[in-house]
Symmetry: C2
Subunit: 358 residues, 2 copies
């Protein structure tokens, strides 16, 4: 199409978008200047340790990048931050869509900052690259927390694989801790394998439920109830309160059917109304009790070590598989061996032997 | 201790064990002669294809051996048998101890042979090397079936790893099919991961239950109920009958909560009394309906191919891992990196990168 200099048609009305009047020109200049100036990994790490949120955000962007140079820089930053990390309570929060996660995190996070805590809210949602961020994408749903100077909210890193998203989130936790955040909340949607991944990176796992939602079987089946350190029945207000109280009794009964947890902790069921800001303080008390009990019996430390070990082995196994099956010779052999299997000419074990011998 | 020629003490009464009078000396000679003569892989395969049970047993012993020469011979036999295999219905049977598996298999298997079927009964029990065969070890519990010329019973191969036991059983299935067995029953105990392994090698999965056993939650949690193509409530006789009927309604309700199966099959719940030999024919009808329906919609063939693919990938992944982590250099590096992680000097991801770079 030829370049149009005249706006003779309605299609070309937008010759230039006029600048919004509320845009602060000074801020734009500051941001542009910062962009031009690329601080070193060391400078970024030092900024993070001093609690500089801009530097924290930039480092997280490097962690989330797929550019190998960025990853190298991110690794250096993390290395510098590590001695300042780990001093936090990491809380996983899950629940099916509609359970009120955003409202809950808004109420819970605000109460924590009121009590002097510094709260980072992260998310794990591998589907977000498709749905353009179904959770935490819309920060307006947490309008108090987003303005709170003691809160830091970061949407889910994008990525097609849960493994990639999980790695990015785990490294972001370290950066946030180094920046002085003492309470890390990791939100995930109540579907797929994301909950297991989040469970393996937090100290305390909180399951949000609604009374009478009828998804108990799903929760039991997928092992979510088993992972919970506390079940919070949300929207326990108004006409819902009676049903919520019944649900509390039922969940308590269900929880007692499970064998004792390695942490020695008996999961608690509690009611809350995030909307009415009721029952929130009880939840923080429960988490404090948990941390105290597990630090006393050394489970807290032990559990973090086990998680690190799990992620180390998981990362190695993922790479062994992707390296092996990514090889074009193996791909071809796999294809032809699968054909032989389909035609009954070989067994899976003989085929595996052959492929491994290449 | 000095050799005692005189049986002067009660401790030395057994100077020699006298031969049992029921031992047939001719049989011993025949067995010894056969042992001395080692038939070739080809001869064994030909014997199996002709339906020679002795040759079948010997080939299975080779499959189960840990001697590499035996394994090589076993692979040759399997290769010769493959074109004659796969023409069977493979049925997995599970249930917790005490549910009456042996009695059920005795009644079910006997009914099948009466109807002209040739039935092989195998078992997967990785714990059997410790417990000396908790299932199918004691063939006397199936005294009719063990004498039936159209039945072949083989206890679980021993082995410390489920993967090894599963491989041996899958290859034994092929040998049994080549020997003309058209119905393969694979029994497993209702604990651990064995059920998942058996599920991935059969066409039809049968779950034996008792009324009011109270282990429903466990079954749901471990995904066993989800795997079942039919739930058979055993011991539905006498005073138990009423409870069994109630359990049938409950299991039917629970099954309807699950999403539809890929096979298009809606799992059935049925009652039986293996002891009274009641309800057994219904079970065979259900299995026949299943086979007919899934052969019609091509799921039967598709499912077997998927199973083979699964075992191919599983075998490769297991070997990649055991080869990698078995390397002494990797072992050492893993140990030191784990220490660095414990002391907060590195992250799981950086440690994995390092170990993978060795």
């Amino acid at each position: 199409m030829a370049k149009n200099t005249k706006s003779s048609s309605a299609l070309h009305e937008k010759k230039g978008v006029s600048e919004s009047e509320i845009t602060n020109k000074d801020s734009i200049e500051t941001i542009k200047k910062r962009r031009r100036h690329q601080p070193s990994a060391e400078a970024l790490a030092q900024g993070i340790i001093k609690g500089d949120i801009t530097y924290l955000s930039r480092a997280i962007t490097l962690v989330e990048s797929s550019n190998p140079l960025h990853l190298e820089k991110a690794n250096t930053i993390i290395k510098h931050c590590l001695p300042y990390a780990n001093k936090s309570v990491r809380i996983g929060i899950t629940g099916v869509p509609g359970v009120g996660k955003s409202t809950f995190i808004e109420a819970f996070g605000s109460q924590l900052t009121t009590n002097g805590k510094k709260v980072a809210v992260l998310a794990v949602d591998p589907s977000s690259s498709l749905t353009k961020g179904s959770i935490l994408g819309d920060k307006t749903r947490m309008e108090d927390l987003v303005k709170d100077p003691n809160a830091f909210i970061r949407p889910s890193p994008s990525g097609s694989s849960l493994g990639g998203v999980a790695r990015k989130t785990r490294e972001t936790i370290i950066l946030c801790e180094a920046a002085g955040f003492d309470t890390i909340i990791i939100e995930t949607v109540g579907v797929g394998q994301s909950e297991t991944a989040v469970h393996s990176m937090v100290d305390f796992f909180l399951l949000l439920k609604l009374a009478g939602a009828g998804d108990e079987l799903q929760g039991i089946k997928r092992g979510i109830i088993e992972m919970a350190d506390t079940i919070v029945i949300n929207k326990a207000d108004g006409d819902n309160l009676k049903a919520a109280k019944i649900a509390k009794v039922e969940f308590n009964r269900a929880l007692h059917l499970y064998p004792a947890k390695a942490s020695g902790w008996q999961p608690k069921v509690t009611l809350c109304s995030a909307l009415q800001q009721e029952g929130i303080d009880t939840i923080w008390d429960i988490i404090n009790d948990y941390v105290e009990a597990t630090q006393k019996n050394n489970y807290f430390e032990h559990h973090r070590n086990e998680q690190n070990k799990f992620w180390l082995l998981q990362t190695i196994e993922d790479r062994l598989k992707s390296d092996f099956f990514g090889d074009s010779k193996i791909k071809e052999a796999l294809k032809s061996q699968l054909e032989l299997i389909e035609n009954g000419k070989t067994t899976p074990f003989a085929a595996a032997e052959y492929i491994l011998s290449l």
